[in-house]
């Protein structure tokens, strides 16, 4: 166990239409940990308001946790957490909702849009 190692998570914050900023969170680093583990840790221990999507918990089955990790498209659950600083941002090509959450819902799965037809 490597209790002394840590990662600084540099996280995009802000909702659509707001001015964005980045928050830094120091996250303990455990061997084999994923970026998703670190995000979950932040929500539980530091800031419950951080918004990101995931559903299947590291089975890489739901594919909902897709974000930018250090500028590259990746699944938060399969992206290994490195030590040092890791920057996480919402997908650039999808409409931003808040923080790391983007609009990835297929249009026909929206109650509002379907009802408006």
């Amino acid at each position: 166990m490597s209790d002394d190692l840590k990662t600084t998570l540099n996280v995009y914050r802000g909702a659509a239409g707001e001015e964005a900023h980045y928050d830094q969170f120091d996250v303990p680093h455990e061997e084999g940990a994923s970026v998703l583990d670190a995000l979950v840790w932040v929500r539980e221990n530091v800031d419950a308001s951080l918004a990101f999507r995931y559903s299947c918990v590291s089975a890489n089955a739901c594919k909902e946790c897709m974000i930018l990790v250090d500028g590259k498209v990746n699944y938060a659950c399969t992206a290994k957490l490195s030590t040092g600083t890791v920057t996480v941002e919402p997908l650039a090509k999808k409409k931003l909702i808040r923080d790391l959450v983007t609009d990835i819902v297929p249009p026909k799965e929206r109650l509002g849009s379907v009802d408006a037809e």
Binding site: A15, G32, V40, S49, K108
Partner: protein, 573 residues
């Protein structure tokens, strides 16, 4: 506030919910199927990489009554045999229907491949290669749902409460997760298909949506639950090192096929110290394996993360290559080389036998309210037979959708008052505050609850531990839950949903604990260290319901089938 109206409203879009939506649409009903995650992406179905039990008889001659006999035997006297019989008989129809929907069951020369799974008398379990059953099932059903014009899909809709008027279910209150907007749903029938509660245990194979919300919604609507004390633990779930993209219960078939050795923290075999032989064939019963692992850890002989080692390093690399196939590469991506090092395993919470009490039409005691899938209790008694979870989703989903649609058809819908939604959502309003809450979050309390359930309401229970758990759960309900600050950050306020999930989880935890206290015997998945034997007087189902805010328990005779299995077999021939 957004208002929608539909014949059938399905809560949860895993295997059971999607099947319910399809079946209701086939009856001509219009349907909304909602999931707080994305349609078909959340829930348990997509996580299930293993096998599906069905007496299709492709591998060897079989009949659903044989499947039923095995299901009832696994259930230790508590199966609702009427439900079990429906599950086994209709599994055959549903597996063929899924085949038409191109799920891609593994085949050799046109016939479905069926494998043997623990507890089955013959080769009965179909699957999709390799460890791809759940994702393939989810994809096939997603396609069918999308094709049907009568079905509206609502991803990111979190259902909070069922609205009951004059003793009947008439709609639901939901929150649109992305916008935070309240959604009032008027419905002719409602199907609860939002899964089980295994997420309430620290070690589990669940998705984040398996926190017992279907059970809590049913209780709050006035329906009953049954046999909540029976949580199934899988003996050798993956514990360490960190493994992503693989089913945590995947080791079991490989242990059978290849012969993995279970070793304690001192790298010694230990199963033989618990009255079982594991040498050579590695087929110690699951409950014995679980108990042995639990005891080794308790007595300080566990592996570093609190489990035991599963080692394959004595197996010939050629055999490993042949049996594991492409899994070797997927394990390598996780930095796991079985020839070089062992992995750590531990029992993990895997499935809930208890659930919502329904009749054979999947109807609860509240008219208009139905349940499907793992949310239903009773079909699997005190322990579920391997491979019965996915057919349960299909079969009970299809029935709930079909009968729900028929009920909705004959019923008039009156517009609901928006006040009913406002009242439902008023509860945590005073706890909402702008800005982050640095501590005391609902997720931190959920983590505490998971540890509490694991340690005191887990695999091996005692009256003393259960009472301790009950006291803390009740304190969390009356105190912690009401006093935490919820960050008020819309849109996508996950923290608010976490609060509702915690409220539901605590009610379920209280139900499981109370039921476990009352069942002063050991049977199936409910094992009391202080009362190790089964007792004939407890061959009864335990019911639980809400009266005001108090849980009330009772006992009911186990529903039995009135025919013999031989009669059914003779009728076919």
């Amino acid at each position: 506030m957004m208002r929608v109206s539909t014949d059938v409203f399905v809560v949860g879009a895993g295997g059971a919910g999607m099947y319910a939506a399809i079946a209701a649409a086939r009856e001509g009903a219009d349907v909304i199927v909602a999931d707080k995650s994305l349609i078909s992406r959340g829930g348990a179905t997509i996580m299930a990489q293993m096998t599906v039990a069905s007496a299709v008889g492709h591998e060897e001659p079989d009949h659903w009554t044989h499947h039923l006999a095995d299901t009832i035997e696994a259930g230790h006297g508590l199966c609702n045999e009427e439900l079990s019989a429906i599950l086994c008989e209709e599994s055959v129809t549903r597996i063929h229907e899924m085949d038409e929907w191109k799920v891609g069951w593994a085949r050799v020369e046109g016939r479905m491949t069926q494998v043997h799974a623990p507890g089955h008398g013959l080769k009965r379990c179909v699957y999709v290669d390799y460890l791809n059953t759940g994702p393939a099932v989810a994809r096939a059903l997603r396609g069918e749902v999308a094709q049907r014009s009568g079905i509206r899909r609502a991803s990111g809709l979190a259902v909070i409460e069922i609205i009951v008027q004059n003793g009947e279910a008439v709609g639901a209150v939901a929150i649109d997760v992305e916008s935070g907007e309240t959604v009032l749903v008027e419905a002719g029938a409602i199907v609860l298909a939002a899964g089980g509660l295994t997420k309430l245990y620290k070690r589990n194979s669940a998705s984040i949506n398996m926190g017992g919300e279907a059970y809590a919604m049913a209780l709050r609507a006035g329906a009953e639950l049954i046999d909540m004390e029976f949580v199934q633990f899988f003996p050798i779930g993956h514990l360490a090192p960190r493994m992503v993209g693989m089913d945590p219960i995947m080791w079991d078939p490989f242990r059978y096929k290849v012969g993995g050795r279970l070793l304690n923290g001192n790298f010694e075999e230990f199963i033989h110290n618990y009255g079982a032989s594991d040498g050579g064939n590695y087929t110690a019963r699951r409950d014995v394996a679980s108990y042995a692992i639990y005891k080794e850890v308790e007595e300080g002989r566990g592996s570093p993360h609190g489990g035991v080692w599963l080692s394959f390093d004595h197996i010939d690399p050629k055999v490993m290559q042949e049996k594991f196939g492409p899994m070797i590469g997927r394990l390598a991506k996780n930095g796991i080389d079985l020839q070089k090092s062992a992995v750590e395993v531990s029992p993990i919470a895997h499935y809930h036998m208890g659930g919502i009490r329904v009749d054979t039409e999947m109807k609860t005691r509240i008219p208009g309210l139905y349940a499907a899938g793992e949310a239903v209790g009773g079909a699997n008694g005190a322990t579920r037979l391997s491979g019965n979870a996915i057919p349960e989703a299909f079969v009970f989903g299809e029935r709930a959708g079909k009968f729900g649609a028929a009920f909705a058809k004959g019923r008039s819908r009156a517009p609901l008052d928006e006040k009913s939604a406002t009242i439902v959502l008023s509860e945590p309003k005073s706890q909402l505050k702008k800005g982050a809450a640095p501590d005391g979050s609902a997720t931190a309390l959920m983590t505490e609850l998971q540890a509490l359930m694991w340690e005191k309401v887990g695999l091996f229970r005692t009256g003393e531990k259960l009472e301790q758990a009950l006291a803390r759960i009740r304190e969390m309900q009356s105190d912690d839950l009401r006093n935490i600050t919820i960050p008020d950050d819309a849109p996508f306020n996950q923290a608010l949903l976490d609060w509702y999930e915690l409220r539901a989880g605590l009610l379920c935890a209280e139900s499981v604990t109370l039921a476990a206290i009352n069942r002063t015997e050991s049977r199936g998945a409910h094992q009391r260290e202080d009362i190790p034997d089964a007792s004939p007087e407890f061959e009864r189902n335990q019911t639980i319901g809400l009266s005001g805010d108090q849980l009330v328990t009772g006992w009911a005779d186990v529903p039995r089938i009135s025919y013999t299995l031989e009669e059914k077999q003779a009728a076919v021939i």
